[in-house]
Symmetry: C2
Subunit: 328 residues, 2 copies
């Protein structure tokens, strides 16, 4: 989730030396896939969330747990899988206090009901460090899995929801964005703290999209993953990137609009779905957006070349050497 | 793995409010079980290991990872499942250094080859705290699963291998046991650092044992789990507890033999299998021990009553109110 160059090399080594079975998908996708041989596939992902890194430093255990669960579910959404179960291992600073554990259980119970899942295992340990929660989610898929690979030159590139809200929510929590109405700051903070995994969209994209992934590292960084996996360039029209009203207000408030847009495209924690589809699917995708009552925005296309290429409002194309995070 | 009274209450709440599906087995067993409906069952466990808590404070990342993997595999052994895959999430202090990540990958590659498993997913984050590694293991089982429940009054109680070595290994690492030959200390340390999950034994116990679990919290603590799950007492003959030559030397060196035996029975980190079986299975179990070249020792029996009852060398029976760890 967070990252750096050292981690990139580490994961590449893990993939090559330890993950040499087809079920791992080379650790290059959002989850592993066990083909059960009867048409069903079990899709499995595991991610860890740490207080102060992936959440605010003063986040409650309930908030940390919910974010861990939701970001893991986003990985299942990216594969088009329907979630079923999860396991959680929790490193709890000191001894668990009943009022905190009760709040955590209540939050997870709400999330379980919302996403149709149940806890089936895990572990709790006491830690001298910050709270961290590792979650493994399991879901079911039928038919072909939505993967990162499969883009065709000329495909449209789409993204769900809005981009940059997670980053702006973090800014708001850190005391920034004071010029905004309180409701807008609250909206952004909620997007940062309780991301909405796009499960219904992911499941509906099987047979529609050629490939996809969730935007966790950031729009550009995840577009760079798609570009690398598909040996192609992903062109993104900066002005087409969907922004919430609050994010539009942020951009309007900044002195340089393009710099602000680039900043949002390089920030993480969106948990939207980014996918490629043939032009012929435009009506189907419009119908899907209406059915799900979810914005799905065409932001660019797949072209020959490599990396992420941003198209500015004067029509210039510019390869993005800095895409933000560099997580595998 | 480690624990306290607060954690016990927390896990009970998790089980009741969040794990209310049959696949969780009420969080009361060593792993969850997904019945795939075609005779196969997928067995899944997740545990977290933290440097300085479950390992020595100066353990290398390779040692921490191997212990995390092996203790998780012990949970699969306890259910009689054959391991297949694992996912790991690693909280790495600071940035991963190549010489440390290479050693970790090499150790896991050795372990993977030994246990017939492969990495299929996970995550790495950077932490300001100590290193922690959470592992989720997945394995296959056919037919009835070895569970904690199922003991019959009058059953023999058996344990594999030897008890107390893990605890003594920790003592040795902390500078204790100086009276022992270096080879004995090395043996004990290795038992602490690289536990051997009893996978072949667990798989062979299906159809032989009525119930079982792995001895991770300690012989008495895990016997107490069996007693509680089966509404029965587990009687353990102190003098029958199997000890390695090094542990026998430790007991001989202590001034009070019984106190020393009780200490070993209350210590954790053995990762042996403790199980109950009908008297009629004694020949089968003897044959199994010979086949696996592994000591399997009859240490007591299941009786009416509750809790763990120790039988001392003068024949007295004494209920153990202090069983050591109190992990669920």
């Amino acid at each position: 989730m967070s990252s750096g160059r050292g981690e990139f090399a580490f994961i590449a080594t893990l993939a090559k030396q330890l993950a040499n079975v087809p079920q791992s998908l080379g650790l290059a996708d959002d989850a592993a896939v066990l083909d059960l041989g009867d048409g069903r596939q079990l899709v499995i992902a595991a991610d860890m969330v740490q207080a102060g890194v992936h959440t605010l430093a003063d986040a409650t255990p309930a908030q940390i747990a919910s974010k861990a669960l939701r970001t893991n579910l986003s990985d299942l959404a990216a594969m088009g899988a329907e979630p079923a179960f999860y396991l959680s291992t929790i490193a709890w600073p000191g001894a668990p206090m009943p009022e905190l554990t009760d709040a955590l259980v209540n939050q997870l119970a709400k999330d379980q009901a919302e996403f149709g899942i149940a806890l089936i295992g895990g572990d709790t340990i006491s830690t001298s460090g910050p709270m961290s929660i590792s979650i493994t989610v399991l879901g079911w898929a039928k038919g072909p899995i939505l993967r990162r690979i499969g883009a065709q030159i000329g495909d449209d590139v789409w993204v769900s929801g809005s981009i940059g809200d997670g980053y702006l929510g973090l800014l708001a929590a850190q005391g920034g964005l004071e010029f905004m109405p309180a409701d807008a700051r609250d909206y952004l903070l909620r997007r940062y703290e309780y991301p909405d995994p796009r499960l219904a969209l992911g499941a509906a994209l099987n047979g529609v999209a050629h490939c996809g992934l969730d935007v966790s590292d950031g729009l550009f960084a995840d577009a760079a993953h798609l570009a690398a996996q598909n040996d192609a360039a992903v062109q993104i029209d900066l002005e087409a990137i969907p922004l919430s009203p609050a994010a539009q207000l942020y951009v309007a408030h900044e002195s340089d609009r393009q710099v602000a847009l680039l900043r949002l495209a390089r920030s993480g924690d969106d948990y939207e779905l980014l996918f490629c589809a043939a032009k012929e699917e435009r009506p189907a995708i419009a119908a899907l957006a209406a059915k799900l009552n979810l914005d799905i925005t065409r932001i660019g296309r797949v072209s020959d070349g490599e990396g992420v290429v941003a198209r500015t409002d004067n029509g210039n194309l510019q390869t993005m050497h800095d895409v933000g995070f560099t997580h595998f």
